[in-house]
């Protein structure tokens, strides 16, 4: 029987439809993996408690703490008090909720703790073909393994805890076809920033983006995660990349994946996931990876981005644009190159994985960070930290004068007290340059780990390719 060609989104969606959508009602969509953290779950657990409900599938729920957790070793392992009292309360509430409802918690001192979007794939909890949700917009990261993964609100966290399901309308599909390959010194972070620049910060609203093409196939898993991670910065709730040999090789043997025959069966099943040739997408855009330059943001949303050697554009009669530049202390027509930076942040669910730390360390090796610059290196997980230390990367960071911390979200959103000062410039490998995101009055420049490391060395916004040539 002939079947209409289907997208990967449609295949995963149909496999998880408990009840199909109608004109009057949304679909009931089954959730395979529910990740929770300390900031967006307390009110959901309270709802369960108030209504006498239980967690339907604790074994499909995995909890960790990352957002408001400290990154100082003495506060995690040494019993030193957590700086923010309210953060400490939230952490203890998470411990109580998980104990009461029987949910596995990778708690403060767990060797497997880390940023929720780093540990899911790392542990092999994230697998192709799954539906994955979390009360966090960067859940889109997990789509890099060929899962349908999206952020939800706290009320929905409660829905999933109680029923393992969500009421959802099927999103529209959006193919971004990336042809050719990134040039040396240009990273996956630059690619996704270029994509956001192209389609805009609301260009993906209502859609799930599937990244395809030779320029995506050649990316390793961690690069794919960086790309999918920032799908939400283009307004898309989810980004996904079809699984392939790169995916299976990366995933094989991880703690929570099947072994032996069961693994082979899983891979055979996953091979059916990629979008069928000729499948219809509601929207399609083409990108040429070879033309992407190292990118850096100049404004207060991730769409306000230019090539590192470019100039800030001019926009007439755009009050919001002017306000944004005033906040940043920049002028239209100016270059960002050589602007002084005060803080460099290497980390986050976007760029806090081992390959990101390796890339930055390769630039930093043998250098000192510039006088007056604070550089914070925060691994995405405790496992990333251990692996980096096994390679001696931490020594490169410490020798250069950077701080080497325990894992967490840290300065990406400054909830735990890791903050950028008012008016200071932060060259950050994270995902959002919103006003005040890294601290009240903080000015964030988003860029790749390479750009971050090079800028730390010179104390000014720098093109890593120039530093690497010497």
């Amino acid at each position: 029987m002939d079947q209409t060609p289907r997208t990967m989104l449609e295949k995963i969606w149909q496999q998880h439809e408990v009840v199909a959508e109608t004109a009057d009602t949304p679909a009931v969509l089954y959730v395979d993996l529910h990740l929770i953290h300390e900031v967006t779950s307390p009110q959901a657990f309270a709802l369960l408690g108030a209504r006498g409900l239980t967690v339907r599938h604790p074994e499909l729920t995995l909890a960790t703490m990352d957002h408001s957790t400290p990154t100082r070793t003495e506060q995690i392992f040494g019993g030193a008090p957590i700086t923010l009292e309210s953060a400490g309360r939230q952490i203890r509430q998470m411990e109580r909720n998980c104990a009461r409802f029987g949910v596995e918690l990778l708690g403060l001192t767990s060797e497997q703790r880390g940023i929720v979007h780093v540990i899911g794939p790392e542990l092999g909890a994230t697998q192709p073909g799954m539906t994955i949700v979390c009360g966090d917009s960067h859940t889109s990261t997990h789509g890099a393994l060929g899962a349908l993964a999206f952020g939800i609100g706290t009320t929905e966290v409660g829905h999933v805890l109680a029923t393992q399901s969500l009421l959802q309308r099927k999103p529209r599909s959006f193919a971004i076809d990336v042809d050719n390959f990134l040039q040396p010194g240009v990273t996956a972070k630059d690619l996704i920033l270029a994509i956001i620049s192209r389609i805009g910060v609301s260009g993906g609203t209502g859609h799930v983006i599937e990244y395809r093409g030779a320029g995506v196939r050649v990316l390793d898993m961690e690069e794919r995660m960086t790309v999918c991670n920032m799908s939400i910065e283009a307004g898309a709730r989810a980004g996904m990349i079809a699984p392939d040999e790169t995916t299976y090789t990366w995933l094989a043997g991880r703690p929570r994946v099947a072994r032996g025959a069961a693994w082979d069966e899983a891979v055979a099943r996953w091979r059916g996931l990629p979008s069928d040739p000729g499948a219809h997408f509601d929207r399609q855009v083409e990108m040429n990876a070879a033309l992407v330059e190292p990118m850096i943001t100049y404004g207060t949303n991730p769409g306000m981005v230019i090539a590192i050697n470019g100039t800030i554009p001019e926009r007439k009669d755009d009050a919001a644009f002017d306000k944004s530049l005033a906040y940043m202390g920049f002028e239209p027509g100016a270059t960002l190159k050589d602007k002084p930076v005060n803080v460099v942040f290497l980390g986050s669910c976007t760029n806090g994985r081992l390959s990101d730390l390796r890339a930055a360390a390769a630039v930093l090796r043998g250098h000192k960070i510039a006088r007056g610059v604070q550089m914070l290196v925060v691994p995405g997980s405790q496992q990333v930290k251990r692996e980096a230390e096994a390679e001696g990367l931490h020594l490169i960071f410490l020798d250069a004068g950077a701080e080497w911390r325990e894992s967490g979200c840290s300065m990406c959103l400054g909830m735990n007290g890791d903050l950028v000062g008012k008016g200071e410039y932060s060259l950050s490998t994270s995902n959002r340059n919103f006003e005040g995101r890294q601290g009240v009055g903080a000015r964030t420049l988003l860029a790749s780990p390479l750009t971050a490391a090079a800028s730390a060395v010179r104390g000014r916004v720098s093109d890593a390719r120039e530093l690497m040539r010497h």
Binding site: A46, R51, G153, L166, L167, G235
Partner: protein, 193 residues
Amino acid sequence: MTPIRTLSSRTVVLPAANIDTDQIIPARFLTTTTREGLGVNLFADWRYHANGDPQQHFVLNQTQARDCSILVAGRNFGCGSSREHAPWALLDYGIRAVISTEIADIFRSNALKNGLLPVAVDEVTHAWLLHHPGAQVTIDLPSATLTLPDGARVAFPIETFARYCLVNGIDELGFLLEQQPQIEAFERRRNAA
């Protein structure tokens, strides 16, 4: 949930595009474990000086904004983080509806679950509203229309099911819990496969 049918109010206008949830409620206020009391920190970094004094030029601190429960905002309102603290803060402050041309997906979903009405209108209507702060407008949920001061009615899209829940004061979790037999059947089918 209290049923919602109509809402009439003067508007308060924040014209900036891409107002993200970090502006609506900055992350440092998210260490709370309840959903109450966030209104005082709504738009905190725009609303207050560092010493806590109100920024006089910020619209919510001006007398004409008092008692306005409908916010008109620039395109792509609510982008960024999935924090449901954003609609909680707006509601706690007294905002009951947000009008824009585009409203970000997760914010929209969170808003609907809490009885905050996301109203996406066409560019012309939006431009008029941006230029007429304080306009008296009425949102009628059963007919999904916005009535302007001159009596003109503008339709806005809203998911049928979400509207049904809001108009009848039904909470979606109750509906989902009634799907338990279907969920069990789905789980049996999967386990058998």
